[in-house]
């Protein structure tokens, strides 16, 4: 029989990576982070469950942070004079809303679940508190975030001439 003392002492040695850490590893915003750092980020994230058809946020709603899909599916949409214009259909390991980590502007699109979903939220107040406690880790995240946004801008720039034609 295993002694509880030994199993407690070495509980972290053979621990399995949690589902959340695995999800975080797949998000470019957390690229290059060690397992220990990912566990620290995991402590700051909030796991939320949504029913199918539930709004995660509406367009122009106050924004506080990004969401990572652990399970289920999400639609990003814009309301165009009553008709719903779907911009993207997302599933695990996609993420959305990351701009809200950097500014306090309202959401630029709405997000709604299309099946029962579990999401991991990472919010600006937690990032700000991480910046106080662990500037090295938070600067890695901010650099990654910058890279994600730069990549998106590059793609938009590439698409612009095509849309002109």
């Amino acid at each position: 029989m295993k002694s509880p003392l030994w199993s407690n002492l070495f509980k972290n040695w053979n621990s399995q990576e949690s589902e959340k850490v695995i999800a975080l590893k797949q998000v470019p915003v957390f690229d290059g982070l060690s397992n220990k750092e990912l566990v620290e980020i995991e402590k700051l994230t909030h796991e939320r469950t949504y029913q199918s058809g539930e709004h995660i946020f509406k367009n122009k709603a106050p924004s506080e942070g990004m969401f990572i899909i652990i399970s289920g599916s999400v639609e990003i949409y814009l309301d165009n004079a009553g008709s719903k214009n779907v911009l993207a259909k997302l599933t695990n390991p996609d993420f959305f809303g990351e701009i809200a980590l950097l500014d306090t502007e309202p959401r630029s699109a709405g997000a709604i679940t299309t099946s029962p979903s579990t999401l991991l939220g990472f919010f600006r107040p937690d990032l700000l508190s991480l910046m106080e406690r662990n500037p090295a880790l938070s600067s890695k995240i901010l650099t990654n975030l910058g890279a994600v946004l730069a990549e998106r801008l590059r793609k938009t720039n590439e698409l612009l001439p095509k849309s002109d034609n």
Partner: protein, 371 residues
């Protein structure tokens, strides 16, 4: 049918609400002290959180950071209370010795006679025969009995303090996890707004408390310097550092606090200078009679208050709470009436929290269609 269902639901909710209020009313006397301890622990946590966080940033271990900050705080409080008690006991012993000697009573009586002689005629009433020294004896007797009851209260204070420190350590260790579990109860719809509200309240309280503590420190330092300057001119004040620190701490209570340090300085000036002819005949700026340097002490504290109110507090505390002076007074009165001096201490940050909540509620109401 639906209408009837709604009525039943309403009555049910009303009954549950009333029962909850009744239950809270019954158990309040048993839980109020624990709640007050938790409030103190929360306030200590808010003040110490940034120190723990920045220490954690350097040594990369939260447990050791919490331990180091808590031990530092306990050491500072113990050194202050210990040396204050020793000095106060010495001072009280010295004063009671002087009180017992006949010459001291004579000095006191002669001082009263001289003062009366200096007063204009119309102020002299019929009670010429009142023995001032016996009156002083009475006052000192009262003071001693008060000190004894104070010693009794000290025991429970020490116990409460230990509990507050334990709660503070637990909160500091698990602050971020506690917050996370608390926010997990917020419904999805209000989650982001709820996070924002909690973050704003945290910022408000922590800015206010840190600003207040910095202002209190500056008042303490200025008072100590001021009292030393008065001593340089012969005021013969003792317990200077303690008076300064108490003046600084009392400064945390708006409006009323500043007078507390001044009163203690008055008492020390009176106790130390009785029998000293030069101190009794002292004139402020060689023009205004200021026996026992009373007016000098008052002027010094007024200057410290003015410097604090006009330069230091606006700089350190600024608009962090941003309450109208009338609201501050109303909050102080309500706090003072409800819980006494402790209520006065918490009144302004509590009013600040209510203001932030009100602001967020109005924000949510305006943006309700977006949630």
């Amino acid at each position: 049918m639906d209408k009837q269902k709604n009525y039943i639901q309403l009555i049910y909710r009303l009954m549950v609400g009333l029962l909850s209020i009744g239950f809270l009313y019954v158990i309040w006397p048993y839980i109020s002290s624990v709640l007050l301890m938790l409030v103190f622990a929360f306030l200590f946590t808010t003040v110490l959180l940034s120190s723990v966080d920045s220490l954690e940033r350097k040594i990369r271990n939260r447990g050791i950071s919490v331990l180091a900050v808590t031990i530092g705080l306990i050491a500072a409080i113990s050194i202050f209370i210990g040396s204050f008690a020793t000095n106060l006991a010495d001072q009280a012993g010295d004063f009671s010795q002087r009180l017992e000697t006949e010459s001291f009573m004579d000095d006191f009586n002669s001082f009263i006679d001289k003062t009366k002689a200096k007063l204009p005629d119309f102020t002299k009433g019929g009670n010429e025969d009142v023995d001032a020294a016996s009156k002083l004896n009475e006052v000192v007797g009262d003071l001693m009995s008060t000190l004894l009851s104070f010693a009794g209260a000290l025991g429970s204070f020490v116990f409460n303090m230990i509990m507050v420190i334990i709660f503070t350590i637990i909160l500091l260790l698990n602050y971020h996890q506690f917050k996370k579990s608390l926010v997990s109860f917020i419904p999805n719809k209000y989650f982001e707004v709820g996070l924002r509200l909690i973050y704003n309240i945290e910022q408000q309280v922590s800015n206010y408390l840190r600003g207040q503590l910095l202002a209190a420190t500056s008042v303490a330092i200025m008072s100590i310097i001021g009292l030393y300057i008065l001593n340089f001119f012969g005021a013969n004040l003792t317990l200077v550092i303690f008076i300064g620190i108490i003046a600084g701490l009392a400064n945390l209570i708006p409006l009323v606090g500043p007078f507390i340090g001044m009163l203690i300085a008055f008492a020390v000036a009176l106790m130390n200078n009785l029998g000293n002819e030069a101190a009794q005949a002292h004139m402020l700026f060689n023009a205004i009679p200021s026996p026992f340097y009373i007016l000098d002490v008052a002027l010094m504290f007024i200057i410290v208050q003015q410097v604090d109110n006009n330069f230091i507090t606006p700089l350190l505390v600024g608009e962090s709470v941003g309450l109208h002076p009338i609201m501050v007074m109303i909050a102080l009165l309500i706090g003072g009436t409800l819980i006494g001096p402790m209520g006065m201490l918490f009144a302004v940050p509590a009013a600040g929290i209510i203001k932030v909540i009100g602001h967020e509620i109005s924000f949510v109401t305006k943006n309700a269609h977006l949630l």
